[in-house]
Amino acid sequence: MIYLKALVLFLLTANICMADELLDQIHARLTKATITRGAFEQTKQLKVLRKPLISTGTFIYDKSRGIAWKTLSPVPSLLLISDTRLWTAQGEQPVPAAFGKVFQAMLGADLAQLAAAFDIAGAVRKVAWQVSLVPKDEMLKKVISRMQLSGDQELRMLEIFESNGNISTLHFQNIIHPDRLTAGEEADFAHLSP
């Protein structure tokens, strides 16, 4: 009887499992779509500042092109990330390996590549899941100590814990999967084409 109880308890509570299995299970829950559009709210808690930096805006993910990150307030700006490039109105920058990957992987429901760059631990429930990623790369570890992701059939929240104590939290809302990009979004992505 005790044995049965224990078994039930085990099945009901979060089942902790191996990284690959974990990712498979999350993958099974995520909506697979080529395009994902939504709104975000980002809160950055910087140690040197008394108040958090809060920004809101929209994002769009297109499997073949990358991510367009459009901040609307307080300062409107556009950020484009593809596999190999990162574009802002201020110029091109190197793609930060970890960040680009996490975004691409979560928004595109392509989790396999996460296991290569991060140590993964987490829990999966019936619908909801959460996972924590610790960079394997020593250089990256010096900047980002841990990332925490959670969601259901979509990615809902992403927290970035920086090594120096700064914390960024991103909430994603109103997620939809349209069939095609709007003309405006097409024009945005055009910055990435060589």
Partner: protein, 775 residues
């Protein structure tokens, strides 16, 4: 009267050789072989300071090897690169091998320059401060609110305006990602890890090059076996391939020569002519080598290839002598020498005139080849005239070789057949030659000198597409009488380059003054910040709005004030700079300071070349310069070739009369015409180097003409000499037509067609059809 004593002459020859041997024992132990492609560059005329700067620049890039290892994933690519690094380390060939970005050096650099953040502003920030300082705040907010702003946020406390992260990022642009500290480039589904290595000895010794080539081949095999890919480029690899194929070509010549030797054996049924021929060639090549090294210090591997070819004329002297022994029953070496002396001396004179003319232009390779060949030919002539009479004592072949009967039959009937059919042969030949000449197009691209494989070139192209590799041979030199003037001049150039970059003339440019402002400018930068952010209270407002507390704002203002009089000198700045940046600085001497400005992704050469008129700016374009130099020298060498023909004609005219001279010289003239026409028909490379082959055709063709003209009633032995000479030449140098190096192939092709034609035409000279006594 016997002035000529064979033993005395031979003694003289021996003394000469011993002298050379003594000199050579010292000369040949030095490092005498030059394999670097860059050594072919002429000392830039009348611009020694440019030449010196170019030499420094070349020395700096000479030993670099750039490798990319590719795989389907970044860790796999990095693993391949790690294996490659191990191989490189074990080889002992390299001085520094860089895979991981040196994070300590990077951090140290960051720390060193961070102290000067108020003085070191990048161009964009400077412009922004000058035009609309408020906009800087907007840009900062954009960075801080970006989901990627972790690094900026980290330095916010000590650099609230983000000045330094701007400056530092501007210095390290590009689309590189670091993984495990390794630069990884992604291209579609493929990941590439970067490894850069510098040779321990960038003088590029031959045996080191061979080891490098084997090392690279082995590494490529290993990585490919593991499912990866290896791309590699760099001057040492090109040079290694070049010298490898040059060695292969020397091997081709020796195989051909061996076949020629067999033919000689069969013909004379005696080892003596064979040994003497070898002795003659060995002695003359040795003499040429030793004297050239004594004169030039170092000779280029291409000099060896072409010079040894041109000395090939020398074997004709020996063959002519040997074949003459078939001419009469009472032949003695002394008689033979008397008979051939005029012919071979005339020939030596014509060859000397034509080769010496090559030495006129100030092009190091041409001068070396000319000198090498002249010394070699004099050696060959001296060996035949001084040594052979003694060593041929008692030489008298008793048999009548099959070869002699064949060539005799041929020399009797072939001219007759030609003359019988001249009604249709002549127009056909004229049409064919005219058609070929019409299609002849010169190609002078210096890159044809490189015998790089298609694979190497493809790897080089791919690497340049993935990485912003700077153009090795195209850059600007900027100078000024002191540091300040140099800085001003370079700044003006960089401003022009920025405009051209926006117009798409090139992908990017790099110069020291872009990242290191002169101390005057550093003070100006500081004052600019003071005026725009501190005196207006803008800094206070910005920091307060962002959420800094009072204390943080005060501290920042104190830090700013404390830094008022600091500045960083170029020497200090360069000390911690990466190697690529250090390479830009060529230093100051009493008269001037000089730097280079590098470019990559060049699209519009003409627009860049126009900037050479700016003050203190020189445009250096080694490839184009050298190509145009090749073009000019091809033109002048063509004129020299024609002049050589003129001189030979005049000489022959005085000796034999104009009519006869024209007949003799018709042989090489027609051979040259046919050779050029064939180059045209087969769309072969036509450049400076074909002219060497045509000189050989002139030398040998005149030989054949003179030999037949002087043959009188000894035409059968002459025809044997000429045929043997042609066959040995074709076997050795004609075989070069099979070479994969464009210029060597062109050389071989030209020799093959020219010599064949000369052989076919020569029997028309002299009293053809005349009776011959065969002993």
């Amino acid at each position: 009267m016997r002035i000529y004593r064979p033993s005395l002459a031979a003694l003289l020859w021996l003394l000469g050789l011993l002298t050379l041997g003594a000199a050579g024992s010292r000369a040949l132990t030095t490092d005498w072989l030059e394999t670097s492609f860059l050594a072919l560059l002429p000392a830039t005329e009348r611009q020694p300071e440019i030449a010196q700067a170019v030499r420094r620049h070349n020395e700096l890039i000479n030993g670099k090897v750039i490798c990319l290892t590719g795989a389907d994933s970044a860790p796999q690519a990095i693993a391949h690169a790690g294996q490659l690094k191990e191989r490189f380390e074990q080889s002992g060939l390299f001085r520094d091998i860089r895979l991981q970005v040196d994070q300590q050096a990077f951090a140290k650099r960051h720390q060193q320059l961070f102290a000067y953040r108020y003085q070191l502003l990048d161009l964009q920030t400077r412009r922004l401060l000058q035009d609309q300082p408020e906009a800087l705040i907007g840009r900062n907010l954009e960075r801080l609110y970006s989901p990627l702003g972790q690094l900026e946020a980290a330095s916010l406390e000590r650099d609230p305006l983000l000045l330094f992260s701007r400056y530092f990022n501007a210095q390290n642009p590009g689309r590189f990602t670091l993984e495990q500290g390794v630069v990884v480039v992604q291209d579609g589904d493929r990941f590439w890890a970067l490894l850069i290595a510098g040779l321990a000895d960038n003088k590029l010794h031959l045996d080191n090059l061979e080891r490098l080539r084997e090392l690279m081949d082995g590494a490529k095999g290993q990585i490919e076996a593991a499912g990866g890919e290896l791309l590699a480029t760099g001057m040492p690899l090109f040079t290694a391939e070049g010298s490898h194929s040059a060695q292969r070509e020397i091997a081709i010549v020796s195989i051909g020569s061996t076949l020629g030797i067999l033919l000689l054996l069969l013909t004379f049924r005696s080892a003596r002519p064979l040994l003497l021929s070898c002795l003659g060639i060995a002695a003359s090549t040795f003499a040429a080598l030793v004297v050239s090294i004594l004169v030039f210090g170092k000779i280029h591997i291409l000099t060896l290839v072409f010079g040894a070819s041109l000395i090939g004329v020398g074997i004709d002297y020996a063959l002519h002598y040997f074949c003459n022994s078939f001419s009469s029953a009472d032949w003695t070496p002394a008689k033979g020498l008397k008979y051939i002396l005029l012919g071979i001396t005339l020939d030596l004179a014509t060859s000397l005139v034509s080769y010496a003319s090559l030495g006129a232009p100030p092009f190091p390779l041409l001068r070396e080849i000319a000198f090498f060949s002249v010394v070699g030919l004099v050696g060959a002539w001296a060996t035949v005239v001084l040594l052979f009479p003694l060593l041929l004592t008692g030489f008298k072949p008793a048999h009548q070789p099959v070869m002699l009967r064949l060539t005799d039959y041929w020399q009797r009937h072939w001219p007759a057949w030609l003359l019988r059919n001249r009604i249709w042969l002549a127009p056909v030949a004229v049409a064919a030659v005219a058609g070929g000449l019409w299609q002849l197009t010169p190609r002078d691209d210096v890159r044809l000198l490189q015998s790089a494989s298609a694979e190497r070139l493809a790897a080089d192209r791919k690497i340049r597409q993935l990485l912003p590799v700077k153009a090795d041979s195209q850059f600007f030199l900027v100078s000024g009488k002191d540091l300040q003037e140099w800085h001003q001049n370079e700044q003006v150039l960089l401003a022009h380059l920025e405009i051209l970059k926006q117009q798409g003339s090139m992908a990017s440019y790099d110069g020291l003054s872009r990242d290191w402002p002169h101390p005057d400018m550093q003070r100006e930068n500081y004052r600019l910040l003071k005026r725009t952010f501190h005196e207006t209270g803008l800094l206070k407002r910005y920091m307060a709005e962002l959420g800094f507390d009072e204390r943080a704002i005060d501290e920042e203002q104190q830090r700013f004030e404390a830094a008022e009089n600091s500045s960083i000198s170029l020497i200090e700045w360069l000390e911690g700079a990466d190697e690529a940046r250090k390479m830009h600085w060529l230093g100051c001497d009493a008269e001037r300071c000089v730097s280079t400005v590098s470019l990559d992704g060049i699209k519009d050469l003409a627009a860049l070349a126009q900037l050479k008129d700016l003050r203190g700016v020189r445009w250096v374009d080694q490839a184009t310069q050298l190509s145009s130099l090749f073009e000019r020298y091809r033109a002048s060498a063509s004129i020299l070739l024609i002049a050589a023909y003129g001189i030979v004609l005049i000489g022959l005219g005085f000796k034999f009369g104009w009519r006869n001279a024209l007949t003799i010289i018709a042989v090489p003239v027609l051979a040259t015409a046919v050779s050029l026409a064939m180059l045209g028909w087969f769309d072969q490379l036509f450049s400076l180097f074909n002219l060497f082959a045509l000189l050989l055709v002139l030398g040998i063709g005149v030989d054949y003409g003179i030999f037949f003209f002087l043959a009188e009633d000894e035409r059968s032995s002459t025809s044997l000499a000429v045929t043997l000479s042609a066959i040995t030449t074709l076997l050795s140098f004609g075989l070069l037509a099979g070479s994969s190096t464009a210029i060597v192939h062109a050389f071989g092709f030209t020799v093959a067609t020219g010599i064949s034609t000369a052989l076919l035409l020569a029997p028309l000279v002299g009293r053809h059809g005349a009776g011959t006594r065969i002993a």
